[in-house]
Amino acid sequence: MKQVKCECGHVNPHGTVLCESCGRVLVEEEKSKKVVDMRYEGSARRSQTYNKTIIDKIWNFFSSVKVGVTLIIITLAASAIGTIFPQEMYIPTTEPASIYYESQYGFLGKLYYVLGLHNLYSSWWYLVLIASIGISLVICSLDRVIPLYRALKNQKVSRHEGFLKRQRLFGISKVDELDHSYELVKEKLESKRYKIREENGDILAEKGRFSRWGPYINHIGLIIFLIGGMMRFVPGMYVDELLWVREGETAVIPETNGEYYLENHKFVLEVYDKDSDNEAFANAIENNGMVAKNFQTDTTLYKKSAETVAGEEPILDKVEDYELRVNEPLKFEQFALYQQSYKLDELNQMHFALTNKETNEALGDLTIDLYNPQDEYDLGEGYKVEVLSYFPDFEFDENSEPVTKSRIPNNPAFVFKMFTPEKPDGEVSFVAIKQTIEPFGDNDFKMTFKGVETKNVSAITVRKDLTLGILAVGGFIFMIGVIQGAYWNHRRIWLRRVDGEVWVAGHTNKNWHGLKREITGILQGTGIEEPKDQLDEKEK
């Protein structure tokens, strides 16, 4: 690799524009400029220097800020498109997506669905965009931070005249008592918290250099965050399950290897009350109708005891009682349980009486647990009812055969066989809500519907997310970096004695007005003139 040796003796890497040490302009085209380009200190960036191999080309592509910004803008536009219609996860489950979008939004909805925009954020091309931004972050940063670090580390106090006079803020003054002025200036610089280095009667005052690392630190944070996001797909890192538990029921918590159980004692739904709650809410309650105040499941968390014998009913040890509310998840080990949703008054039990049709005499009551019906119910004295078939969520299919849509007892139906001393061979009856069919002719007995018992059901989200720690670290580093870069400026002021004159130059990475005002204060009363803004002059 060809290195460039500056007149000052410093050896610069190939491609350097401004000598890292003295700042002399090493590239001919740059000499014609009135103000040098100070971004990245004129250091040798790989992307600006090599462009031969395929690796160079890829590197150069991703190291370009133009490409980075383009990726950001494309991602931005794509994200916006994803909000035109709701994503698939937010549409009601009553209709499949293939029908829903067209029925709700017409042709545009259909187009949205056909193009796959209803699942945009998990589409391969959206992930490719995010991944490209990630690659761009890494390469952009590496391409700049290393040479920038070298340049800032190697800079010496006495900068080359050509460097100074090509700074945006630059001025030459003649001062009689320069030593005295220098002392004054140094004092003021120190009071403004500049770090001062002196060599051969020249001064370099510098502050806030660490703000230059802000962008790179926040990029590291972003990379960590993106890696955290990818870790979700590693098995075992992430659990997202929904657990429906009825009141009075104890259910095993999924993904805990059968180790943990949750009992639902009671689901509580409270709404705001005009009279007993804050009176300031009265109007809002009147105008909006009911406003929910609390969704709560009273639960007990159990852990399977070590004494449990394999194959037998587990022995459960209580871990804790917990009132599970929205915003107050129940945490155990790496899991958290959330009050997610609920269903009020789900059918749970049905009561029937075996009745003599003619006399209307009740011959015995039975209660059917809709989640676990018995095969037969013996009512004594020769009366018995068999459950031949059970359809928890009954409907007739295309062939007019009874079928069940789900295992949830939304519309239970039974085929009973009733045995009585009078009819020892039994009578068959099909019983659904408000409907009885006697398939083999008139029966003497019937099942009279007596009532139902309902229960509330709580939907509990079971969550484990081991990526949160990584994301938190990434987010934290990002914030540090972005604050470091945004709330501090890197400012430098050079003073150099040249043939009895003093040359002053100033540079900052941003906020030039602040620097100018600071320089005005520092040079006031020292006899040294304020440097001028050479960009201003150019405009005039």
Binding site: K66, T75, N278, F281, A284, N288, N327, Y338
Partner: protein, 395 residues
Amino acid sequence: MVSLSGNLLFIAFLLYLIGTVFFAGSIKDKRGREKEHGPNKWAKIGVGITIAGFLSQVSYFITRWIAAGHAPVSNLFEFTTFFGMCLVGAFIVIYFIYKLAALGLFTLPVAMLLIAYAAMFPRDISPLVPSLQSNWLHIHVTTAALGQAILAISFIAGLIYLIKAVDHSKKNKEAFWLEAVLFGLVCTLGFVVISTVFSAAGYKSDFNWIDNNNVESVQEFHLPALVGPHEGEHLTPDKFSPLVETPAIIDAKKLNTVIWSLITGTVLYLLFRLLFRKRIAESLQSLTKRVNLDLVDEIGYRSVLIGFPIFTLGALIFAMIWAQIAWSRFWGWDPKEVWALITWLFYAAYLHLRLSKGWHGNKSAWLGVIGFIIIMFNLIVVNLVIAGLHSYAGS
């Protein structure tokens, strides 16, 4: 307490109005050029009144907080007024850094417009639904609003920059779009004016209609229905009957409001043109005569630099922490979340373009303007049109 709170907000509004007049006076005042002598007497009084107004609004905020038992940032009215307050607060801070009176002249009207706009929505103190009952409501919403308000200063700075820098004497794209942005502001004013007029008159007309899911419901219009709902049955025939019926997927009431805002905005705009015989931007140009373009450019950039980290913290990081607690996932691609991400990406692009591609001046000013449009889109359209988990009970 509630009525005291309302009065304090009204006082704040009036003080902002008076403050605007003083800032205008400070610019018209030929004596005392800002550069040499610092702000003139008018500007000093102007900023004093602004601070008084700000304090009055802070008092509104505190009293309403006490009355409600939670920070008043839980519906569209409360959030938008809070956003207006943050905008004024951000202006006061920036004013003391840069001492630019023109910034006040443009910030205060925008803040007033925001507050007036907010007042058109239900102002009842609403109880919090379970998912909002968390201290993160206060932390997340206030930080996000503050971040957005500081970012919005770059819009004000961009506006001032463009009003001064764009050549209004001949037709060009920049002048056209700048006028379009100002027309947008006038239409917002139009919305406020027309809503106030008809609500003062107590106008109401009801429709029975059948929505997209074939459910019958009643819709109450507070503006004369130029467009009516899908298969709507007019229940108050003595009132104005719709000229057109909308398809079922479009909310006729919202569309009707938009149409009325545009009509009123256009009328106001034409009145302005008749009176001043100039475009708005051109008329405002004289107010920016003494503004230093470089300085305004820097204010725009600086406010993005200050606002970006706060916005990230409030609208993304705090948002994710709360979402994890309340909804069990830190990110769910809800439209509001997506638009917060879009805003963030946009300002990230702004910073990169500024740093690396050297986008200063006009280009940078336009980015500031577009950024504010995105923020407003997130506030208005995402809340009222693209309903999601964040949807406020608006009308």
